[in-house]
């Protein structure tokens, strides 16, 4: 058995073990279902942007499962397409925050010279309220899903970087890292082979929180009129536009509102479950 297969084997069995736990399995299934629905949305359901003002604000019916909005667009179609946006935003922000945050965090935790400077910058970003920073960035970039993603990434990076830095600092002091140094590991190997794998767990947990924070922030930005362009059917946009309609057409906001809350709840629960799974102390206690 080569090293690679051993590793894969171990990872696979860890995955199997994790999936055997309902606390992890259920959120993963929900996420998979949401992803499949999102991917199939164009095939499953009509155009989310096609307007028909003459059929506006119709109550839910068989033809329009969740009714129509003020443009006569299908709320069901918009909500389903909104899943794409929310998942896209969540996933891209998470991946980007991971890439940047992990790089900065590792660098900061490993190279004392850049640590002070990097952390001051991270402090500065964190000291500006997320929403305010994101609104300002959206004013700078203009409305757009991609721009919203960037505007959300920037405030999320320091959080990820701080977590990774903290873990790196503590891993760096572990004897097995000293052992690796005495074994002649080059700095890059030390960083990527020895330190980084140990940050994976906390990173993963933090990633789920970044994901849910991103989805919520996107919704709030849309809600404040500073998110994706209005014609993009993001949940935040649908809720934002339907807000004034609540009393005459509550269906416009209920579907996306419920979907949003479920998605975020799912991801957060997944994060909690992974964290408990990784923390032997908690695992022992809660098993």
């Amino acid at each position: 058995m080569t090293d690679a297969t051993a590793d894969t084997g171990r990872a696979a069995s860890a995955l199997q073990q994790a999936l055997a736990r309902p606390r992890i399995l259920v959120p993963v299934l929900i996420l998979v279902a949401a992803t499949v629905l999102a991917l199939l949305a164009p095939a499953l359901i009509g155009n989310p942007s096609g307007i028909n003002p003459m059929a506006r604000l119709q109550a839910p019916s068989l033809a329009n499962l969740f009714g129509t909005d003020q443009f006569g667009r299908s709320v069901a179609a918009r909500t389903l397409h909104g899943t794409r946006i929310s998942l896209l935003v969540g996933a891209s922000v998470t991946v980007a925050a991971l890439l940047i945050g992990v790089t900065l965090g590792l660098l900061s935790g490993f190279v004392a010279r850049v640590d002070a400077v990097l952390m001051r910058i991270m402090d500065a970003i964190m000291s500006i309220p997320t929403i305010l920073l994101a609104i300002a960035l959206m004013a700078l970039f203009g409305a757009g899903v991609f721009n919203a993603i960037i505007a959300i990434i920037i405030p999320e990076v320091p959080r990820m970087a701080r977590v990774v830095r903290g873990v790196t600092l503590s891993i760096r002091e572990r004897p097995y890292i000293e052992a690796a140094i005495t074994n002649g590991a080059r700095p890059l190997r030390l960083l990527f082979r020895h330190v980084m794998p140990m940050t994976a767990g906390p990173m993963l947990v933090q990633a789920t929180y970044v994901f849910s924070a991103a989805v919520i922030t996107e919704a709030i930005l849309s809600f404040l009129g500073a998110g994706a362009p209005p014609d993009v059917p993001s949940w935040g946009n649908i809720i934002s536009e339907g807000r004034t309609l609540f009393q005459i057409a509550p269906w416009v906001v209920i579907a996306p509102g419920v979907c949003l809350s479920i998605l975020v709840l799912t991801v957060n629960s997944l994060g909690d479950a992974i964290r408990d799974q990784l923390d032997p102390k908690l695992r022992r206690e809660t098993r």
């Binding site: 307007i51 003002p53 003459m54 362009p229 807000r243 004034t244 309609l245 609540f246």
Partner: protein
């Protein structure tokens, strides 16, 4: 003509959110003689010459007075002016002020104040600027009489001085009117029916106006912005809040008056006991789509002609207003109810013709950039519908959304379309009086000096002729010719007129109909 800014301050932050629910009445008791009104936007600038913001204009009407004003039928009437005289050659105007006009600091209104105010206004307002170029002399005949001599006739002079919308020629004390036009006047001393309570002012949130006991109103009944400005309450409090929040406040008795509620809320407000929905701006607001003539393919007249037939404004206005009783669709560049309104040359929705013209224009699926301001409801909704309709008509549409400020800067900058930062189409909601004639309506400028940069010699010649013509009946055919040419050339797509009612409680009586919200004449019963 200017963008309707009514929704501007109702913007992202403030407008975005509020409870969509209604709470039971009884949280706050209505005080007699105080009107609490939810206004169209947050007031943060006070100088109505310095800025064109509609909310600042409305504020100007509270504390300043004008020489002339317009009645409900948009006819010019003297306001501060007692009597006036126009020379036969239409070059010399003499205005005599009414008796007893005093500023809030007690000083009488003099010719010097009027002269300084006209001068400042004429450096800012678009009609004012035209007049400014024509002024030969502006002198005081005596303390209360002013003589204005023009170098050539300007048929709209009185109308300009009495125009209902920004920038109105408000009369300020000379010392304030001498302020550079680029500098904001912040000391609020006028001679209008209300005084400004500076101590209560919270920029962006609250402004308070107190009845000016020394004001001498005209004897005529109020009509439009003209007539006697008799104030029948002690205080008017302007509050700015989100529309949904305001709806709650209406029902809980915390609010007496609600300017232009979001149309979606009208069914809710209308169902509240005692609440009246009243269209006080009878001339309404015009939806306008303006293409950029300098950007390919809109430089091609065939393409513009195709475009003029692609849009069906019924969908725009239905999406925004819902109930058809709040809008009329009509293809005139002069809104329904304005003096020059005509059917001449009107183009209507015609998808088949549009297809032919589009094919003829050689359109090659170039992306068409529609600007969208996300923080302004009308703009957001109109551009959304336009984009959909243009797509249906076979155009490759890109909606480029941003906040209003960014959109506006981008529109003015007019970068080449190839740069990726240019634009093809922008939406406006202009109040109808701003489009009432071919001069006031900047949309009809063929000089290439306004957004869209339409250039048309014929239109410019017709406008010059229009200005020189003293008789309104003779001006009408000229205006009609302008309309024909402007529509043919696709200056603008006039989408129809809509009317947004104000909502007020049963305690409010005698609301004056005018193009702008008016708080004199209004009564509040206990």
């Amino acid at each position: 003509m200017r963008l309707t800014r009514r929704n501007f301050m109702l913007s992202a932050a403030s407008a975005a959110v509020a409870s969509p629910f209604v709470i039971r009445p009884g949280f706050a008791q209505s005080s007699p003689n105080v009107i609490r009104s939810k206004v169209i936007a947050s007031l943060s600038s006070l100088d109505p010459i310095w800025t064109t913001a509609y909310i600042t204009r409305n504020h100007g009407y509270m504390i300043f007075d004008t020489l002339f004003s317009v009645d409900e039928g948009l006819n010019v009437k003297p306001q501060m002016v007692d009597s006036f005289d126009i020379s036969a050659d239409q070059l010399t105007y003499t205005f005599a002020l009414r008796d007893g006009l005093r500023f809030h600091d007690g000083a009488p209104v003099t010719s010097a104040d009027v002269i300084a105010s006209i001068q400042r206004w004429s450096k800012k307002d678009n009609l004012g600027l035209r007049i400014g170029k024509l002024i030969g002399s502006l002198t005081a005949v005596d303390a209360r009489t002013v003589r204005l001599e023009l170098t050539s006739p300007f048929s709209l002079l009185l109308q300009s001085l009495g125009k209902a919308s920004s920038n109105c020629c408000f009369i300020m004390p000379e010392r304030l009117a001498q302020t550079d036009v680029a500098t904001q006047v912040t000391e609020m001393i006028g001679s209008g029916p209300f005084t400004f309570s500076a101590g209560d002012y919270v920029p962006g949130s609250k402004a308070v106006y107190v009845r000016n006991a020394d004001y001498k109103p005209r004897q005529e009944p109020p009509s439009g912005t003209s007539g006697g400005k008799v104030v029948k309450v002690d205080r008017v409090e302007w509050l700015f809040m989100d529309d949904v929040t305001a709806t709650n406040a209406m029902q809980s008795g915390e609010l007496d008056y609600f300017e232009e509620p979001s149309p979606e809320l009208l069914p809710v407000l209308g169902a509240l006991p005692g609440v009246t929905l009243d269209v006080t701006n009878k001339s309404g607001v015009e939806m306008v789509v303006r293409p950029n003539h300098t950007a390919k393919p809109f430089d091609n007249p065939d393409f513009r002609a195709a475009f003029m037939r692609m849009l069906n404004p019924v969908e725009h206005l239905t999406s925004y207003l819902g109930d058809p009783k709040y809008f009329t669709v009509d293809g005139s560049v002069y809104p329904v109810g304005t003096p020059y309104h005509t059917d001449a040359g009107v183009i209507t929705f015609n998808p088949d013709e549009a297809k032919e013209l589009l094919a003829k224009s050689g359109y090659n699926n170039e992306p068409i950039v529609v600007l969208q301001a996300t923080d302004i409801a009308t703009n957001r909704i109109f551009s959304t519908v336009t984009a959909d309709q243009l797509r249906r008509a076979g155009l490759n549409v890109q909606v480029q959304a941003s906040d209003f400020s960014t959109m506006f800067a981008r529109a003015l900058k007019n970068d080449p379309i190839e740069s990726g930062n240019g634009w093809h189409m922008i939406h406006f909601a202009n109040i109808a009086t701003d489009m009432a004639d071919p001069i006031t309506s900047r949309s009809l400028s063929g000089a290439g000096d306004y957004l869209g940069w339409a250039k048309d010699e014929k239109v410019e010649q017709l406008r010059t002729a229009f200005l020189a013509e003293g008789d309104i009946e003779k001006r009408k055919p000229i205006a009609a010719d302008i309309q024909v040419e402007a529509l043919q050339q696709g200056f603008i797509f006039p989408g129809g007129t809509f009317y947004q009612p104000h909502a007020y409680t049963a305690a409010i009586k005698n609301v004056v109909s005018a193009p702008v919200p008016i708080y004199w004449g209004m009564e509040k019963t206990a």
